[in-house]
Symmetry: C2
Subunit: 294 residues, 2 copies
């Protein structure tokens, strides 16, 4: 009996004509024209040795040099013997390999530029429409959540749950991309514009978020035997076409996406008593789905 | 060598006189007068059968009837055979027991009022000072983060990471408190004012957040053998004084707390290049510490 509790939170109640459409309804009924294929070379596919796959969508639109590095590292099998060695609760999971003993493969830029923001123009932005504590305005562009500033003409990818950034030491170091982290807690937006954000986990996030937390300062594992080894990290485009993962994202300039954001801000299904009348950027994530078979 | 990466994110760099004070510096050097003891009967201490303790601070200031229920349930050992049966990634961990087969103990109000908000007056509020997408204003009162509305004169506890709410079915049911959940992802602020928030996890959050995610819809575990049994859930005030957990919270009306929030919004230690100039309510959590021995 208990399993009914909170069941309608995600709008799984059956749709009836007189009921307001939930965010899930809108996503499920969006026309094909609202969906865009995610290119196979934008997908970094990580398999953990103990089992479990994590798929990361890369964001070349925002961090082209870092993403090129990540692609080169994947092609060189750089991470095949890397490990997750840091899991800090409500913060990040981090993985990589010792760059001082394992030299970077050819083609990797050792000191990439600070790709912390990009030009706003000529990108078409869908404004979130609600206030943001971290940027003059918040919205979506090219399938990604952004903070932006019309005055300076800049836009930046934001640190939401599941977003992936490049570990670095003190500035002006920007990191090579050899060490990456994924956010496993409340969006640490204070990292925006201080770190290169290079993508987001779009599948298998639970394989990172449920890892045991490290007991040392900042969530580092105390013993190397606690590290979680990767089996491989490769681009989907380098996998056989038949079995590789394939995803689509909702076009953030489509009418369906505008409906979806509006519905996330005004939840009206049976469970909700008081719609918020607002939503923050990380609570209206861009819908992603496996590419339909065919 | 790799462990240096991101090391200064939490302001663990050594303090030097000429450097701006980090949030951690401010907390560490706050005077004793900035700290308040948390009453022992506001602490619900959950021990998991497999090991691991989770301490929840209750919020009678916001949900007095639900908190009274929770205290009565704890005293009746209601949860001693309960389980965690739902773990939904980036959302909640939920636990409880079948109320239809295990009748509620005496003294538990079966249908509590909708304690979703309270009167703002005469509470002293420390305003956050930055915009919030979910409430006209955001701030802190009596040690808790709140959304508030001066026009309607109401204030509500918010759903931040680690915050605990009362599972319920469809409104006007408000839940008894027998089923509780804790937030394990980005703050689901759309639940604010739709559910009774009754407290927050102040210790052992990693024991909930790292649990395997359920594979059924909404994160329910498929098999009952996957459920995570509780060993006990008791009030600290019912435990022997010698060994019971004891915590303090920072007074949210203290000058140290104002400094802390300001520093969270303007991170200036060596790692940060561009302070955000803002912070959201859930990224400036009220500092909590174990009560100093003595």
């Amino acid at each position: 009996m208990r399993s009914l509790l909170l069941l309608s939170l995600l709008g799984l109640t059956a749709a009836a004509p007189e009921k307001p459409r939930t965010p899930s309804d809108i996503v499920a009924s969006a026309p094909e024209s609202a969906w865009q294929a995610i290119p196979a070379d934008d997908l970094l596919v990580i398999d953990l040795k103990k089992g479990g796959r994590v798929v990361i969508q890369l964001a070349p639109e925002f961090a082209p040099v870092h993403v090129a590095n990540i692609r080169a590292l994947a092609k060189a099998h750089w991470w095949d013997k890397a490990s997750i060695y840091r899991v800090q609760d409500n913060y990040v999971v981090q993985w990589g390999k010792n760059e001082s003993t394992d030299p970077l493969p050819a083609g990797v830029v050792a000191k990439p530029p600070a790709e912390y923001e990009r030009q706003l123009e000529p990108v078409a932005v869908h404004p979130l429409g609600y206030p943001d504590a971290y940027a003059p305005e918040a919205g979506y562009a090219m399938g990604w959540p952004i903070g932006y500033d019309r005055k300076s003409g800049t836009a930046n990818l934001v640190h939401c749950y599941g977003y992936v950034g490049v570990g670095r030491d003190m500035a002006p170091d920007t990191g090579t991309g050899g060490e990456l982290y994924a956010v496993i807690g409340h969006a640490p937006r204070h990292l925006d514009r201080n770190i290169a954000v290079v993508g987001r986990v779009i599948s298998g996030m639970e394989n990172m978020a449920s890892l045991p937390r490290g007991t040392e300062a900042l969530g580092f594992y105390k013993e190397r035997t606690s590290d979680v080894p990767l089996a491989s990290a490769q681009l989907a485009s380098d996998m056989p076409a038949a079995g590789r993962p394939s995803f689509q994202q909702m076009n953030t300039n489509s009418p369906a996406f505008a409906d979806y954001v509006r519905a996330r801000a005004n939840r009206k299904d049976d469970f909700f008593i008081r719609p918020a009348g607002g939503v923050d950027l990380c609570n209206a994530p861009v819908p992603i789905r496996p590419a339909p078979a065919g």
